[in-house]
Symmetry: none
Subunit: 217 residues, 4 copies
């Protein structure tokens, strides 16, 4: 028993260290592009020896993947908790609202880890899942190439819009006076983009019928 407790205590301490490291990694990768992040910087931010990064994550790349994963898990949790089961359109609106809330709460992370690395390999699977959720809700055929690429394009547009939105209140080269649109307005904008994407899917594949999906919005 005492042994178990001890072991558990040690493991808990180790886990805590790992979490500190993970948080530091998220912070670092949120502030700098991958190649400007250093293992030493992460360790320093976590207040531990740099050797621990390799110890816990098998090197820098491992730490990066873990950071991406952590962020996405967080976001996924924020987006999908307590979903209303109402109409599809409302569900989408809620999901978009939560997405916007999340990125607004974590602008650095959003801008550098989520929105900027859209084509990063570590993100591919995560994005795919997000897209599949929408595909499902709209009752669109899975595996249809036109739908897949169109929804990916929608994701690009939405992420770009969100990024621009976040940058609205930030210091950018030209002092942007981008109005800080409301979350509501952004949500509706997302829906409009989604509708456009659906119509583009139709254009790509005339055998499709996106009208039912459009009606759900």
């Amino acid at each position: 028993m005492s042994t178990d407790n001890r072991l558990t205590a040690r493991q808990a301490a180790a886990e805590q260290t790992k979490q500190k490291l993970l948080a530091a990694a998220v912070a670092e990768f949120s502030q700098r592009p991958y190649d400007e992040v250093t293992v030493g910087g992460i360790a320093r931010a976590a207040g531990v020896a740099h050797g621990l990064v390799s110890h816990h994550f098998q090197g820098k790349q491992g730490a990066y993947v873990a950071a991406v994963d952590a962020v996405y898990r967080q976001m996924e949790a924020a987006e999908s908790s307590e979903l209303v089961v109402d109409a599809v359109g409302d569900r989408l609106r809620q999901r978009f609202r939560r997405f916007l809330a999340f990125v607004a709460a974590n602008p650095d992370t959003a801008l550098n880890l989520i929105l900027a690395s859209g084509r990063d390999e570590a993100f591919a699977a995560r994005r795919e899942y997000s897209i599949s959720v929408v595909t499902g809700w709209l009752d669109l055929p899975t595996g249809n190439a036109a739908v897949t690429v169109a929804l990916a394009a929608f994701a690009d547009a939405a992420e770009g819009l969100a990024a621009e939105w976040l940058r609205g209140g930030r210091a950018t080269s030209p002092p942007t006076d981008t109005a800080p649109f409301s979350v509501e307005a952004m949500t509706e904008a997302f829906l409009a983009l989604l509708a456009g994407a659906l119509r583009s899917a139709q254009a790509l594949d005339p055998s499709l019928d996106v009208r039912p999906a459009l009606a759900l919005l």
Copy 2:
């Protein structure tokens, strides 16, 4: 006179070297992410001493910017030459068609230099110009934040769609069966996305009236 000639000859030779270097830079940055491109690699590809990269472009970053510039200039030239002066919709279609033709002709460059670095600083100005062209044609208010961000989102979507389209015929992890959509279908998809973007601008800024613009498509 002989001095002049010599100088001129030297200058011409220098210019030629610079062009070789530029071409090599475009090729290198088209094949690898920035940090995997080396000054030595560019110089080797150009068949000159690596010191010349700093000489002609003030370092790696300078070479990158020059490469981006060159590519964009090329693309801009391809897109805007011999424009039909017909209806706006046709002009847009033509421009999109040319854009697609260009990226299809330079897939590596497109995938790595144009489509992937969408948020790269060196590209900001270039993109802005492209967007302003569309804004102008559609007779949309310049400087309106909603329009600006919505069209940027459209650009993200279009570029993402184009990238996916290019990847269609490429080796990707999952053996994609992404149908190689026709340029025509892609063009119409672009228009659908653009329409969606316009409607999203409307959502962001209710004081706008995008109906005239939509009518032009």
Copy 3:
């Protein structure tokens, strides 16, 4: 009593762990040069925590020395057990035969721990002992420099020959067609080398008389 038993049990368990570690160390040092062996690797091979290597052997070097010792003890045991007390020549032959049998049975260990590290400090004492056995049997003066160095040279030759013999049946860069000489032939070859070494001792020290020793072969 129960305390004693417990302690004894603990000690036994500890000894077992140490033996596992020792065996793992021999295996590791048999397969890789010293600097490519890692403490972690040894521990992993033994299935215990890597901290135990320092615990039981005071560090990597200690583990190496212990491994060398263990191997030499094994070899010595194999060579000297049940010695016929016959003629010196036969005793030598038997010893050589056993040496060859041992290295043939443990080729990796032989090639890396015994034959390759001939001048390793940890081996010095061991070799010296082996040599002194032969010196004694041949009734040669102990402490004579010429004899000492000549027999060391013989040891080098014999070990080299054995190594080459072992490599005969192994994958080496040039597809060796080294005939797999018989143990008998190898034994006689050893004797010939030994005779040569004795004569070289004579050359080094004319005051010696190696003829009696030669006669014993």
Copy 4:
């Protein structure tokens, strides 16, 4: 012309640097085992930036190979220059004498680079050549396995003897009183070892006839 001179001057300077580096590498590898030699140490000894080691030798391993090569080339030159064309036995004696003179003149290098790394891959080819010289002089069949391994064993013995000889006047754990045998005595000892090796070849391969070779000694 001036260009040529300049280029030549620069190349000469570079070559000089490379030579300094090479000399430093030989010195370092002569004093320490490979893994205790550091690139920084070599560069420091040469008085240049450590990056130059990679620049001129493509890394540490390259520097090592170059050092080995340089040493062997030196030795080969020392051994084979101005050879008397007399009897084979005398030629061998001369070669052995020169070998001994060389190692005596470079004891550190000899002990660590030449004599100790007998089985180092970088040395394999070099040794083979040395052996082939003797094989040729003695008119022994090339490619015969018994001859090959026996002469390799001779090389081991000779190198070991030479090493011991060098250690004679050095600080070793037990204050050796190994008499500093004369070069002449050593030479004769080499011949005795060689004769023994030839007889061992005979033992390995009875179809051989080494008597002619023995007669040449």
